[in-house]
Symmetry: C2
Subunit: 95 residues, 2 copies
Amino acid sequence: MQEIIQKDNNTVFIGQKEPMTYVMAVVTQFNSSNNSVVIKARGKAISKAVDVAEIVRHRFINGLTVTNIKIDTEEVQREEGTMKISAIEITLTKE
Amino acid sequence: MQEIIQKDNNTVFIGQKEPMTYVMAVVTQFNSSNNSVVIKARGKAISKAVDVAEIVRHRFINGLTVTNIKIDTEEVQREEGTMKISAIEITLTKE
């Protein structure tokens, strides 16, 4: 799972894999004694980020609260030039 | 635009049309003297809802704040039975 948990220890970046891959990554973070996990996504993966947060809360870990949701616009460098893309950060916290 | 603005006057439901259709619906709501507009979406349309909110804030109306974002799981009746689907509500408010 190394490739989907970058930099910050308690952050899970949503990419192109199946939602359950990221659900497991979030659960693993909570089981490694993190009280708070941040789920980040950009573009079309934003819907998947919400699915992942909801699946973890409703099916895997009781007593999780959505403590913060932030939306933003990020600039991404592509061959064609700079592109603006929407982003989301969802923070789940153990009570 | 009647079909995309249902029930609540200040709510815009994101469906399968182009993002700019919904951007214009949100702008119209603010121009009809609403101080606050709620953008709602389910499933794959969630990413589009975030795009719409970000486009309105950055390109159309200055001084808008994201005052609330809520994620949830809704039950939808389909022919195959009951399905669970993620949903989002983004509230934009004029300062």
